[in-house]
Symmetry: C2
Subunit: 242 residues, 2 copies
């Protein structure tokens, strides 16, 4: 069974100050799931060069793929491209292919020094298309560097999926349980988890207008096995009286 | 100027699988800002003992305060309490004060083995009240361990603020700039940032029904200085024609 993993680095002071609610992690996760790639860890980092460089190196070694979001715009605090270059020990400079992308949007006279910064790409990286605002992302070895703006980030993923050599897709079955709490079913779930260590079993309580309960989610690679375990789980749950 | 920092550990497979959108980081950030505490980094971790233990140790040394969310419920994948005990090398067991809290909600006969797990607290920790569902969080040295459910997490913060020895509160001034893009003002912002390195200057583009623009946010500790810099910034922006 081939397991493929990813790490995610969400970059930007505004994500840590309470100003901005990140949504990119969930978008990336939902993009990777059908490709058979599981996120092992995500970090939210301030605009701090040393921290970013160190995290890029750590994650690039630890995971099959790394995704970064944020910090590739035109302002002084957009330092991600430089951090990636430093992490991989390569030069960085203005690149013609990236300038060509910017020229699809800007007149040459509007490409001031600040905007030209968006054409600075680490040496050897391949560009990631940005159909929204043109300024490209880029891939350096196993690290994909994307914009932080959610709409742009999402559009960039369309130019990434064909570069991913995925693994076995994780399948899931959800069993809704009404009128019971996690504490009522925890023993059954624990026993099932011990019996089938290859299956991941999660439980997620809900409270809504119609009452309370929880969803039990079974995850694994073999749908036949999952179906059998679902049957076993339902039988166990039926026996629990509260 | 006293700078007080925090690290945040968001624990749970569901945050990395795309199932659940975290909102706790933003809530914690907005709780800490008026206390003068700045978040330096956040990590989203799978339900993996070794990873959690290691991150707790690292963050506890690196930051003044650490906040963890998630993994303190009754099910087999709720392992945060054990991880905290291991990180600090202390024993963990069922505690009477925590059982007393659970007994406010449950009849003794409903406190099965699974629910009693929620009374397992690392030795020496002090409880954090949970007015929503009673199962307490706890403080171990500089680490606050809270529930993952947003409503419960938020309620627990009410029993934490009095334990925080905060720093100087960061003040901010926001200057809206209509009809200009980041690339138009980046040079001015960069110059200002170099001139006043003690001030943090962020820019956040917006696109709405009435057009586009950006908000420039100045952050610092001295409101008089911020006011002067705001005046200087506004004069610089007025000179930019696009």
């Amino acid at each position: 069974m081939k397991t493929v993993t990813a790490g995610v680095l969400l970059i930007g002071d505004e994500l840590l100050s309470g100003r901005t609610q990140d949504t990119n992690l969930k978008t990336i996760a939902n993009f990777l799931t059908p490709l058979g790639v599981q996120i092992g860890e995500a970090r939210v980092l301030a605009d701090d060069k040393d921290l970013i460089v160190s995290a890029v190196r750590t994650f690039s070694e630890r995971f099959d793929y790394v995704f970064t979001t944020g910090g590739i715009g035109p302002t002084h605090d957009d330092i991600t491209a430089d951090c990636i270059a430093e992490a991989f020990g390569v030069d960085i400079g203005e690149r013609e292919d990236a300038m060509d992308e910017l020229l699809k949007r800007y007149e040459p006279e509007d490409l001031n020094a600040a905007r030209r910064r968006m054409a600075r790409i680490p040496k050897g990286a391949s560009l990631i298309k940005n159909p929204v605002s043109m300024a490209p992302g880029f891939q350096t070895e196993n690290v994909f560097t994307m914009a932080g703006v959610p709409q742009i980030m999402k559009a960039m993923l369309e130019d990434i999926d064909h570069r991913i050599d995925g693994g076995h897709v994780v399948l899931k079955r959800t069993v809704p349980v009404k009128g019971k709490g996690e504490g009522d079913v925890a023993e059954s779930l624990g026993a099932l988890s011990e019996k089938y260590p290859e299956i991941s079993i999660g439980s997620y309580p809900f409270f809504d207008g119609n009452g309370y309960g929880l969803n039990v989610v079974l995850r694994g690679y073999d749908d036949g096995e999952l179906a059998d375990i679902e049957t076993e789980l339902r039988a166990m749950l039926d026996k629990i009286s509260i």
